[in-house]
């Protein structure tokens, strides 16, 4: 167990350094380099020279990377040339709001998806199973900006059931204080994640139901319900922990579109606005944070999984 965790931690460190390196290269690749990113595309050459000297950009490549890495780890990511804001605090604030949105929809898609998946497995290969599969296939295939646009056009604008945008000053806790404005965004994100969850639960449960231990449980007289819920389901749901870790990047992507559609000031909105402002340091910073969040998320998921599964806990 300790060995596994240490190995996994090392891997996470490598991934984090790699993510920082990619974002470092993104800044390097921008025409005009870091100076253009930090001072804006129209920065004059004289200022650039001073900026480069002050920030160690006249030093060798790897020294520059080291400076960048240590700055990032200290939370020092510079200031937006457009808004003058501290980039680190702008991103962390936006990130917390996005995380709220993403976490709420993860929890909801599990609460709805797991029972549906179990139900499908119980009714496997009946018309119910097939029609739920078809419905989920539909949800999976509809791009989130399509469902979002149609929801705003129809549910928010035409029928007026829901607000078509989220309060621009919404904070992390607004979702609990005035939930109505979050119904559409959260529902759309949940629907997008639902198909994956039900499909996973259904197939994982069906795979477990043909295992020997299930036969043993039946043979010793356990009822169907007991076999399903106490034996098969617990084993089937265990790998879902890693599934959460793996679906984090996709959810961030989906949340980006939803944030833009509903005007919610999260990471996605920040990124898109900064792109339009040519505020490149913020764009790269958000990319970096999205990557770090994913790396940490999947690290936590893997460690949780290892703790929960005795085969890994006791094995390594």
């Amino acid at each position: 167990m300790a060995g596994y965790i240490i190995r996994r931690l090392l891997q996470a460190v490598i991934v984090v350094i790699g993510v920082v390196f990619i974002t470092f290269m993104l800044i390097k690749l921008l025409p005009g380099g870091q100076c253009a990113a930090a001072l804006g595309p129209k920065a004059n050459p004289h200022n650039c020279k001073i900026y480069n000297h002050d920030n160690g950009l006249d030093k060798p490549f790897f020294v520059q990377f080291w400076i960048y890495l240590t700055n990032v780890l200290r939370g020092n990511m510079g200031y937006s040339y457009k808004t003058g804001q501290n980039i680190f605090s702008a991103i962390t604030g936006a990130m917390a709001r996005s995380a709220m949105l993403v976490l709420t929809s993860i929890v909801l898609s599990f609460m709805i998806g797991i029972p549906i998946g179990v139900w499908q497995a119980m009714k496997r290969n009946t018309w119910i199973d097939h029609s739920v599969t078809a419905l989920m296939f539909f949800f999976y295939s509809v791009p989130i900006f399509v469902s979002g646009t149609i929801a705003i056009y129809w549910l928010a604008d035409k029928l007026g059931y829901f607000p078509s945008s989220v309060d621009p000053n919404a904070g992390v806790l607004t979702i609990f204080e005035s939930p109505k404005q979050f119904i559409l965004p959260v529902a759309l994100l949940t629907l997008a994640g639902l198909a994956g969850v039900t499909r996973y639960v259904r197939s994982s449960l069906l795979d477990n139901l043909v295992q020997d231990y299930v036969r043993t449980a039946r043979a010793k007289g356990a009822s169907n319900t007991r076999v399903l819920f106490r034996h098969a389901l617990r084993n089937a749901l265990l790998p879902m922990i890693t599934f959460v870790g793996l679906s984090i990047p996709a959810l961030f992507g989906g949340a980006l579109i939803i944030e833009v559609l509903f005007g919610f000031q999260g990471m996605g909105m920040l990124t898109v606005n900064s792109t339009l402002n040519a505020d490149y340091l913020v764009v790269v910073g958000a990319t970096l944070f999205a990557g770090l969040a994913t790396a940490i998320g999947s690290l936590v998921a893997d460690i949780l999984y290892a703790t929960a599964d005795p085969r890994i806990r006791l094995g390594a």
Binding site: F137, D157, I248, A250, V284, T287, A290
Partner: protein
């Protein structure tokens, strides 16, 4: 994967394929029925084709996709509309469907029906080409990592881990601010940023295939490692690669559309379906439904058909393994 493990025994009725063609009896010789007719099947490819054709939705999807390709490329030859001259279009802004404009016009005055064809060209072109590029890169990367194992494998797969942990859309946004926003560029950046999953799949395939006798035999006959990888391992993973590539088409169509939808895709007067939806959604509260619904339907239908085909192909390729 999938719930295929259960209840198959009863359903797995054997098929009569190519009975009269007497093609080479490759593989499939299930239990012969007592004193009954001799069952014979065609090649693996024919067997897969027959399973694919069984899936009516997928066959319909193939038909629909061919129709859409015709619609986008042959359509403009039959239905002429102005898609490039912004000045001339300026007189017809936001017209509802009417004579001369069957699906109305958008906020720049371009005809929507013609624009669906024109935008579809870029959407599908980028989707298909980027998918091919990503499976090409991913396959090569994966087969090399899996074949050489050890340090090469570790380094190559850590690179994949790193790139996978950055949400694709964020990376795409950051990169697309640097590069010129043309269709060719989007094929390149989408293709070169989305091969990661393919490489993982291909590495897995390689790890199992490289120990098999027929691959080892190549070595004993003096074949090079390149030959083992690209003439024996890769062709035997064609199922995995083909299924991956199919889903990659719909993923890349959506990825480009997502970028365009937030205003970072191909630039006007060029457009793709996501860009059309972006333009339409700017006026969403004015009730210009014709700027939103047609493109939503077309985009979703194409993505869904591609996914149907991918699903059916997965079943078809799995069959090769199941019924052996």
């Amino acid at each position: 994967m999938g719930g295929g493990g259960t209840g198959l025994g009863a359903e797995e009725t054997f098929q009569y394929i190519g009975e009269e063609t007497q093609s080479a009896p490759v593989g499939i010789q299930d239990g012969l029925p007592e004193g009954g007719e001799i069952q014979q099947s065609g090649t693996v490819f024919r067997l897969m084709l027959s399973v694919f054709v069984e899936n009516k939705a997928a066959v319909f999807a193939v038909g629909f996709l061919i129709f859409m390709i015709g619609f986008c490329w042959i359509g403009p030859l039959l239905y002429h509309s102005n898609q490039t001259n912004a000045a001339a279009a300026g007189n017809f802004v936001n017209l509802p469907p009417q004579k001369g404009f069957p699906l109305g016009t958008d906020s720049a005055g371009f005809d929507i029906l013609g624009r669906l064809m024109y935008g579809g060209q870029i959407s599908m072109e980028v989707g298909f080409a980027a998918a091919l590029l990503s499976s090409l890169v991913g396959t090569t990367w994966g087969v090399i990592a899996g074949f050489f194992s050890g340090a090469t494998d570790s380094v190559m797969m850590r690179i994949v881990d790193v790139m996978l942990s950055i949400p694709a859309l964020y990376l795409l946004i950051a990169v697309s601010t640097i590069v010129p926003k043309t269709a060719t560029m989007y094929i390149l950046i989408l293709g070169l940023l989305s091969w990661l999953v393919a490489s993982r799949l291909m590495r897995g395939e390689t790890l199992t295939l490289k120990t098999r006798d027929f691959v080892q035999a190549v070595r004993s006959m003096g074949g090079t490692r390149k030959r083992m990888m690209f003439r024996h391992i890769v062709p035997n993973s064609v199922g995995t690669i083909a299924v991956y590539t199919t889903f990659a088409v719909s993923d890349n169509i959506i990825a480009l559309a997502s970028l365009s939808f937030i205003g970072l895709g191909v630039q006007s007067p060029q457009t793709d379906w996501g860009g059309m939806l972006y333009t339409g959604s700017q006026y969403i509260f004015d009730g210009y439904w014709w700027q939103v619904f047609p493109v939503c339907i077309v985009l979703t239908a194409v993505v869904m058909s591609v996914n149907f085909i991918g699903d059916a192909m997965r079943d078809a390729f799995e069959v090769r393994l199941q019924r052996r």
